[in-house]
Amino acid sequence: MTVLWILLLAFIAACALGVVLSRSPITSAVSLLVGFLGVAVLYLALRAEFVAAVQVLVYAGGIMVLYLFGIMLVDNEALRLQRQVHFQAWPAFVFVLLLFLWMGHELYHSDYAASPAPAAVEAAAGPEGTGAPDTNTRRVARVLYGDYLYPFEAASVLLLAAVAGGIFLAKKEV
């Protein structure tokens, strides 16, 4: 059982490595897409089924497709012909390695079970007698549209602003 966990985490880490190390942006994008599917499997294993579905639909199926469109619209060949080893890569690698080792040590040996739990968000019980099972989706829906209704609407406004901004940045000058 633990072997499966380790395999999953290693798979996600390998996909992430593929994103930052591959020469071709298409390989990076596809590696990230597969990595997101791996993260969705991780969410499923942690019993966050609705978030796993949203991850597959929106992140892997929407955002990554958008990135693939972006890759197809620009010319990547000119960059591939130049030197690939960036002078900034080695200091960055050292910094990131030190950061990961130090923080990883601190975080791995922290006692999370002892940390105080936040005030439990009460997923209020659904109407009795409907006979429908209380699935993760239902409970998330009660919390999302109950306690977090205002942030939900604010996220809609944020997405509208992002769409307007993206269109404005990318439009042709007339």
């Binding site: 930052v20 978030v51 620009v74 975080l107 999370y112 936040p118």
Partner: protein, 99 residues
């Protein structure tokens, strides 16, 4: 799976994304590395949602995905604007503000 291991996975994704942002010259790969950072944060959220049996973490992961979508849209708009101006995706060539 222990919460510690999941937090370290989130840290690993964050660090790899940070390395991609710092070391890669292709603007698209920089954007993809930022998405990796988002993924690391999402894993962190779900890990603590499981630890505290609290659904807030999952709700905020949904918000995170929405914010990542908006950021992807704006980032790709920037990419197209940069490409139209300089006909390149090399971030080293966008240095009018340097010095």
């Amino acid at each position: 799976m222990g919460t510690s291991a999941l937090v370290v996975l989130g840290l690993l994704l964050f660090c790899l994304g940070l390395f991609g942002v710092l070391a890669r010259r292709n603007f698209i790969v920089v954007l993809l590395s930022i998405e990796l950072i988002f993924a690391g944060a999402g894993v962190n959220f779900i890990a603590f949602s499981g630890l505290w049996r609290n659904l807030t973490g999952q709700v905020f992961t949904i918000f995170l995905i929405a914010v990542a979508a908006g950021e992807a849209a704006v980032g790709l708009g920037l990419l197209l604007a940069l490409y139209r101006l300089r006909h390149t995706v090399n971030v080293d060539e966008a240095q009018e503000m340097k010095g």
